[in-house]
Amino acid sequence: MSRIIRNTTTREMLAQLAREAEGLSQRERREFLRKGVTALSAAAASGVAVAASVNTDNLPPNEPSWSRQLGHGVVDSPYGMPSTYEQHVVRRTVPWLTAESISSISMTPLADLKGIITPNGLVFERYHAGVPLINPDEHRLILHGLVERPLIFTMDDLMRFPSASEIKFIECPANGGMEWKGAQMEALQFTHGMLSCCEWTGVPLRVLLQEAGVKPEGKWILAEGADGAHMSRSIPLEKALDDTLVVYAQNGERLRPEQGYPLRLINPGWEGNTSIKWLRRLEVGDQPWYHREETSKYTDLLANGKARKFSFVQEANSVITHPCPEKPIRQSGFIEIEGLAWSGRGHIKQVDISFDGGVSWVPAQLKGLVLPKALTRFSLVTRWEGQTWLLQARAMDETGYVQPTLKQLREVRGTNSIYHKNSIHTWKVAANGEVTNVQIT
């Protein structure tokens, strides 16, 4: 077992370095300290990262450089950006998954996010023909088919309707889909990052349908996008009348182009692909259309060669976001184990945590907002003294559905269904605090 660098030790070593550096010129001193700190990190036992290089000039008792000068003024950046020290908190992709970047996917850096809301610039991306840049004044939504009054709306029209705001997660059903056959992804961002949660604002689809008057034969709705893929999905009328939203804003501002600007659908709790972006057309019909994204794709092939279709709901799922491969344990002692749970069927009722690969479980606390079909944060505080953990979380939702083990899921579905892999996930915490992705069967 490797040695854990405690805060005090680190500080003592830094202080010693600072003493040795005395008498050098300011520049030499800084260089010396930088090297010293690097050496210190290198000396840290296998992989336990020490705080990134630190300039001790800015540490107490010194007055830091930023406290001895003025910063920039208002509207220096009219649209504010995160601190430059947060440049690592970005969406990322796994390039070999797709032929190129235009029909591709990127993932949300879940390990660095707090609370349940995903900042707009970090919401995962999935395009089939790239991001169209749409002039909202030239965008139209046509609602037609089996309706009394086929209607056409401008964006101004749509924003005249009474608005509704809802916090809902959105998840690609292929989230985790690379791991049916075995553990492959060495980071939380790639095992679970096709997942985000925003406050969405728009018009309930039922209000628009009421405006057009659905004929009694109307049973399904085709939603279609204005991108080059003309992305299309069939949605049962029942869902449309229940909680589907026609959305123009996320987290308080208008939709980002990546998220469907100026208009998109949100089908709460359902696979993300049904939440058509750049929405331009809704057609009411009496049967589904069986388009490419509900036959060739987004159907779940089982081991017997038969495939499940219209598998809309994202069943209860959870993952521990701290610790995780990107956030190894750096210090022994007190630790808060945190994570996210979500269910397409409603509220998260309970999350349990196992330290021994699923043999025994203890309940975690839900914290902050607990909303239906939204990310829900859970937490458990404990101590870590260098022991090896096989860390798991297991969610239960308001319907009593309990997240399955990988073994249970594979027994019924085989390993070729790509979509809807919501099994209990395992992180192995090694004695040095490193966290790796493993599967337990």
Partner: protein, 340 residues
Amino acid sequence: MFKLPETAPALLGVGVLLASLSLSAAEPLGIGRMATADEIAGWDIDVRPDGQGLPPGQGSVMNGELLYESRCASCHGSFGEGIDRWPVLAGGYDTLTLERPTKTVGSYWPYASTLWDYIYRAMPFSAPRSLSVDETYAVSAYVLYLNDIVDDDFVLTQGNLARIEMPNREGFFVDNRPDSPNTRCMQECARPDQLEMVGTIGGITPVGHFRADVDAPAASHDAQKSLEDQKEEARLRALGVEVDETVPAAVALSDEAKAGQAVYEAACVACHATGLAGAPKVGDHKAWGPRIDQGVSVLIRHAIEGFTGKEGVMPAKGGRMDLTDQQVSRAVAFMTEKSQ
């Protein structure tokens, strides 16, 4: 713009309006206007299994072959086998129960209507909605032919498409989940001696941003490309091959080129950023040098009219016949200035 519902008196107070709305929630609010038949027809492109939505028209396997070769094969392969990671369109019969199934139009898709609908709405990838109705029938017929579903003398029409029986039409069932229930067990939920642990395969996940000294892919397509270029350069150097070290200076673009960037990104990037189908990559001055030497007017003509060279087929206007000649020539300016 701010039209009131026709039935509402023009000078209603806000309170009165709200009250009247809440009283008759089922009444239309009168927002938006009736869509005209023309407006709907232009966008109503969807087709479903019973043939509803198919426009009149037809296309033969024979005509489809020519189209497919020029408009589709660069990505999907002459036999539908898929080039590089582009989708496979044909074959894969009897693989659905195998360890690695090949899901294609022939082996997996339940309805032929899906093929027509998808091609008409989304293909070819770099120029969606550029195929005419008859071209869509022809190229669909050809993809069915590549899958042994129709013969080589077949003509696909509005009338016969819905009658084509796809091999896997019985292969689907409606969602019946939950199918894998667990219970909320708290103690002795598994026998520790029976648990097996499998770790991750190293080296295939982008982890360079949080782990040092790993040989891993980058976390974006662009970064991965430059990583691979660097590795290739290092490999060539190790072999003693001379590597061109000149770092291209950032060029200031002309106004013409600046105006062309958006066109390039919308219509040309799919091939010219990646070298797809043999297209010279933008920024690759070796590939562009001899072409630029022909004179810009030749390049513009080739881009507008289309051009078949040693590397492959440059479709007229990149397949985007909706572009004006001026837009294309601006895109050429952007591409050549970026590649000098």
